[in-house]
Symmetry: C2
Subunit: 807 residues, 2 copies
């Protein structure tokens, strides 16, 4: 095996260490026992942490909350990665797919010293261990998962499926990083994880880091065996080869095998694996790498609940699903369980792990790496520490020309694409765009002037016009789960990015959005977690312009989901045109610790605001379109037409124009909303308008016809406490759609200009009696529009060719 | 290859047909050309359907909406499956993963005659073809996907990823059914599809049908190559072997290869595959099958847009992503495109497909199966036709004993489990329970008295207590996507089932819920689609009792998502105890064409209602707990305490009891809500209360304190038009949670009894001045509860041991 030389810092190219020495095995085993001891203690003990006296009932917790089953496997892997780091100076982070093995990652962070540095009162004394034990899964303490509170974690893993996606996200643009990723065999059954294996076709061996998947087969889930543990090993190796990996296998610990024997095999295999990785990286560095490498992965088979109780109440527990949570459930109620717990903890020989004061003995932590090389302390896992703000080109330079409202048209996302092109140009190593095959469809193609789609699967001659390359800033795989997971991993390790999606299909990652929002909610209250870049969604091909793809592609409900999360982490923006989109996105790419959802159209639509106007409007987030209304300064309007989103804005302005021409004496106010959070009460959201501000815009007693991009009740939910809510009438998407024309879509949902006019006529007192014929005409026009569409398969010219006329 | 004999109807055991004859190849090719012709015509033409004159601009559609790229592959496969059905009498259905290849499935249904039988005006004449073409993707016509409107479809496929899951769902309990399933290579990148391959570990070779996955590599998505088309074939075959399949490969049509040559290879390979299937089925039937069979699957590689234009505007189109939608985009605007379209359609030689009247020639439809054996007409795909109602044991016999309110406690889901056990017993072949490893955790274990978890991966001796068997009514894989997809497929083919999930993790299938709701919305308006069983969710381990698993497991927001769908398809039930859950679920298992969401606790909680009371309450869906309130008949109460969900009901009743003891003169009314839709306006939902009914329950001017299971704003959204809405104050989950105790969870969200009392004191006029000390005491009690929990790690005894005292 020829390996090139490189800098001593590089983990990839060092010579293979000598054989694993017996004292190293002693150190591995000491760490393993210590971590297991500390894990069991966290799950069970309130006191007597060093087992100085036989355990008594009151030493144990009244509510036993934690997961033992996966924990020893995590501890085992962590110990061995420590050795690799120490011997090779590898920059390594650890992702615990089975994040509910929280006791393991906390124990490891405690042993390597990070925990005490982070939380000073949990020091390396008996009292520190007592606190460490007590806080776990305890009210006012720490959660049972690898949560934001856990040093070294970027992955909580309560909802399973995303460990590999997060891992690849962390590896992008971190060429010297090894992301050791434990994939639980339960997690491996999820869809997101199942396709995440293919991420290796999207990694650049030269410029990105390395993900080492460790498929941990402990055989059982909550109450069932796992699929991958129950197929023949050769079939499983086929599967991994089919995923493009070189599988390595370590199995051990069954039938009471001495862990030392397993340590020996694991250490040797990990050396082979890291040698293999070094060989690939060296070849990539010196340009001799041919094709896509078959990256190593490890299949590790150890018993669930390894080293725990074998039998409890006559039932098998080790190597069984019964060890999933707490193997001994009744330690407070039965002497037998209490005694078993005592014996179990004693079996780790705490007296050989800790000294009299409770500090770990030298052998226990001999394998702990130093400083930032500790997996718990690697700054990559606290991304805000190393985050560099983007160098953002001045978005005003990308303004579309708007001599007067509506005079020009642009594709909003097309305009954004030109700015994003230069964002990419100016930030070549810490900004990426993620999307499920929609960069071109959502009209961001300008970015391909300066970059490519990263791709490491096979190439064909035809790919010259596919914008594919081994290195590129655009990540496209037809899996919203991967896009979201990659981006989360990328952001949490200190970089920046966008998830560009079709609006309807963002629901595919609803649950991932939830989990990321929960992570941010947690992380934002932890002082040592530094701010990370916001997760920015760009939702285009939105509900109103999926006329061609039909009902399955029409759903604006993601906004409702987003609004359920805490106000300090979520933002929703509905820019009305190209310049407002540019201004909004500049803001989003500067923000931290948020999830920004921006919905924007891709088709050429009217531009309403010049850039100075757009900036002013976006800063306010909501405001009057006084150039569109017919109100008289100093007087209240007769009616307010409000709108949020590009298509609702268009229909509202068209309705305004009709009203201006047909009922010139009617005083119409037009309010446009960019920042949906402005509608919230001041007390509910930091962006919320005060009641006085709200009343000044919407009046307290005039009819308000609100044309909304999404489901109408979202607006009601935001405004039900506002004055005049009884006068608020909202139009929006009400799940009426099919394959049809753009104007038919708005008609199907009563959001069209004619219906908005009808709404005004019916709601402004006195209008109906004077304008009954006009009302009838609007109804007839709708019927005519419908008829025309059904006959011609297109929108009638007066709609399709409509243009705004200023007053 | 030895194959046992069987009945002539059995598709599995017939002898291998003779070699594929030349005339069969002619017939295959005729069908292929005809279906391609009809597909192109649907995408492009308004008129001149038989190309009787050269195409003119006005013969084409003004808006070209459809997907050509995947279509010829679907047509090719359909033709060959026809041959298999005809020669072997196979009962076969077709699932088009790339459902946007709608033109193909519609063309096929037209050719086999089903379409004209279903839609009489689309007959087998030139005029019928004209209508067929015109309606496609046309306003007032049919969608561009394999939608509910498409005979033979149970899978729309607009959102990709679920074809294999649907296929396995259709195959369960259909031992003679072959489910031919085309998996697009784009779709294959999604997570749900990637793990769906493992469904073959959950199929019973004897009692279930056969899924034949056909992985169609046409190489490109919207604008990118696909991953699986760009890995070496041996790697792909490894992947399929790793998934437990025997891969067969057919490749052809590249570089202008004559389709006849590809027909020949495809026919021979399909014969091999069906022989292989027959062999497995025969072995399963006669008990000689050893272990899990490596079911065949087909890798079919043909060019995207096969037989379409090679080059358009100088760019390659066939075998390129440019053929994804409409290869010729400007047929109305450029002569060149129009001519190319003319040549393209003429290349299929319509004069050799149709006779002068427009009817297909004999050779064109020679391979069409007869009657119900046509894939478009198989009654399995219109499941309501063959659906048998469940034999439901009388749920009243499973009532828990409730001598007086709150006197006994039960696990609600535990009680339900006993009834479900007997539902399974009495319906051994058309009812299944699906769940991601939570049947036991959600306390439905009683079902294992009569059934097992279906499992066809490896067995170990220890599995004696795992309830695993090759045949079983419980389907558990750690993938909510599979559970949902399997169940959808099972229901749409005429059976019954439940999806049993943790509440938080049901968000994983938000988008699948959306798509199924859209399917039902569409199907319910199509007369020939017969009613199918409702999709029933049982959400347990809910937000309020995930104290032990922490924030990642806490999210009641699925209800908000559900409420976005049309009122005629969604229902949400929040039973307050065991008997109401039993009554609710009996209703759900009898209902059709709905999605029923039921949230219920699994921990032992107070029983409030005897079965007769529960039935009466569930029939109303909302009602007074007059035994709990302190109002005087004939007088209005001072305050209404409303509640929905088991934990909110408990806290509300506890608050009521405190108020009764401490302010006996206060007139408190208790309203409990089971059916959330009752809160809707009558005009919005069929279950909505009239305003008069609502007012009678909630009053029009008294304070209402509403303790809700989910996010509080859902209640506001439902009631904002109601009288007295300004007096409605809702408590619910507001995203505050962690690993803690049950009572701490409600306290964190201000839903606890003490806070509800505080709400009453602050909102009933005059109370505060008289009861300031009591108010302070409630505050102090909360602090004390908090303090106790943080000290002891458990809830304080007065809460943990609380019991209801009747007045």
């Amino acid at each position: 095996m020829t390996v090139a030389n490189s800098s001593p810092r590089s983990p990839w190219c060092g010579p293979r260490p000598t054989e694993v020495l017996p004292e190293t095995l002693d150190q591995l085993d000491a760490w393993f026992r210590a971590a297991n001891y500390l894990s069991v203690g966290q799950i069970y003990l309130l006191d007597n942490p060093l087992l100085r006296v036989p355990l008594r009932r009151e030493h144990t917790k009244p509510r036993l909350l934690g997961h033992w089953g996966t924990t020893p496997g995590l501890n085992f892997i962590w110990a061995h990665l420590n050795r690799i780091i120490l011997e090779r100076d590898t920059e390594t982070i650890f992702i615990a797919g089975p994040g509910h093995g929280g006791p393991a990652v906390v124990a490891s962070a405690y042993l390597d010293g990070t925990y005490s540095e982070t939380y000073g009162d949990i020091d390396k004394t008996e009292d520190g261990i007592r606190k460490l034990f007590r806080q776990f899964s305890f009210p006012g303490g720490i959660p049972s998962h690898a949560a934001p509170e856990t040093p070294g974690s970027i992955h909580e893993g309560g909802e399973l499926g995303y460990s590999l996606s997060h891992a690849y996200g962390a590896a992008f643009d971190n060429p010297n990083l090894l992301v050791a990723t434990v994939v639980g065999d339960g997690e491996a059954e999820t869809g997101p994880l199942a396709t995440a294996w293919h991420s290796n076709k999207f990694i650049d061996p030269e410029r990105d880091g390395v993900v080492l998947p460790i498929l941990h087969l402990n055989g059982y889930k909550i109450a069932n065996p796992t699929v991958l543990a129950r197929i023949p090993e050769e079939e499983l190796c086929d599967l991994m080869r089919g995923h493009g990996h070189t599988p390595y296998v370590v199995s051990g610990g069954f039938d009471s095998e001495d862990p030392r024997a397993v340590h020996e095999r694991m250490a040797a295999t990990l050396d082979d694996i890291v040698d293999h990785i070094a060989q690939i990286k060296a070849a990539a560095a010196n340009g001799t790498l041919k094709g896509r490498p078959a990256w190593p992965m490890l299949i590790l088979r150890t018993p669930k609940g390894w080293t725990g109780p074998q039998i409890v109440d006559g039932n098998p527990v080790e190597d069984n699903w019964r060890s999933h949570q707490v193997p001994l459930a009744d330690v407070r109620d039965t002497e037998e369980h209490l005694q078993q717990l005592n014996d179990w903890m004693a079996s780790y020989r705490p007296e050989e792990i800790f000294d009299a004061s409770g500090a770990p003995l030298a052998i226990t932590t001999a394998l702990a790496p130093r400083g930032d090389h500790r997996m718990s302390a690697n700054p990559v896992t606290n991304g805000g520490l190393i985050r560099r703000p983007l160098r953002l080109p001045d978005f005003r330079d990308y303004a579309v020309d708007v001599p007067s409202p509506g005079e020009t048209t642009s594709s909003a996302t097309g305009a954004l694409g030109e700015w994003l092109r230069d964002v990419i140009r100016d930030n070549p190593d810490n900004f990426r765009i993620f999307g499920a095959d929609v960069t071109a469809s959502n009209r961001l193609s300008a970015v391909f002037d300066v970059t490519n789609k990263q791709w490491d699967a096979d190439y064909l001659p035809i790919d010259a016009d596919n914008h594919l390359a081994r290195a590129g800033r655009v990540m496209e795989m037809l899996s919203e789960h991967q896009c979201q997971g990659w981006l989360e991993g990328y952001l949490l390790t200190g970089r920046h990015g966008i998830f560009n999606s079709y609006e309807a299909f963002i629901h595919i990652v609803d649950s991932m959005f939830n989990q990321h929002a929960k992570w941010l909610e947690g992380a934002n209250s932890i002082p040592w977690r530094r701010p990370v870049s916001s997760l920015n969604y760009l939702l285009s091909s939105h509900v109103w312009r999926q006329d061609h793809n039909g009902a399955s592609h029409q759903d604006p409900g993601f906004l409702d989901l987003v609004m359920n999360k805490k106000p300090d982490v979520v933002r929703v923006y509905l820019p009305c045109d190209a310049n407002t989109l540019l201004s909004t996105y500049d803001h989003c790419l500067r923000s931290v610790d948020k999830i920004n959802v921006v919905v924007a159209g891709k088709h050429p639509e009217n531009n309403w605001l010049s850039m100075p106007e757009a900036i002013e409007h976006c800063v306010r987030g909501i405001g009057l379109f006084d150039w569109a209304g017919t109100e008289v300064v100093g007087e209240e309007p007769d009616v307010v037409l409000a709108c949020a989103g590009d298509v609702p804005t268009l229909e509202t302005l068209a309705a305004t124009q009709i009203l201006r021409e047909r009922i010139p004496e009617l005083r119409v106010r037009v309010v446009n909303v960019i920042d949906l959070m402005r509608l919230h009460s001041e007390s509910e959201h930091p962006h919320g308008l005060s009641d006085a501000e709200y009343d000044a815009l919407f009046t307290i007693d005039k009819p308000v016809i609100f044309a909304h991009h999404g489901y109408p009740w979202l607006i009601h939910r935001l405004t039900y406490k506002r004055h005049g809510h009884a006068n608020l009438h909202v139009r929006g998407y009400k799940d009426e759609g099919t394959t049809t024309t753009p104007f038919d879509m708005v008609m199907l949902n009563d959001l069209d200009r004619y219906h908005l006019v009808i709404d005004v006529l019916e709601r402004v007192p006195g209008l109906m009696s004077r304008h009954a014929a006009f009302w009838q005409e609007m109804h007839d026009t709708r019927l005519r529009a419908r008829q025309y569409t059904r006959e011609h398969g297109d929108d009638m010219p007066e709609v399709a060719e409509w243009s705004w006329k200023s007053a």
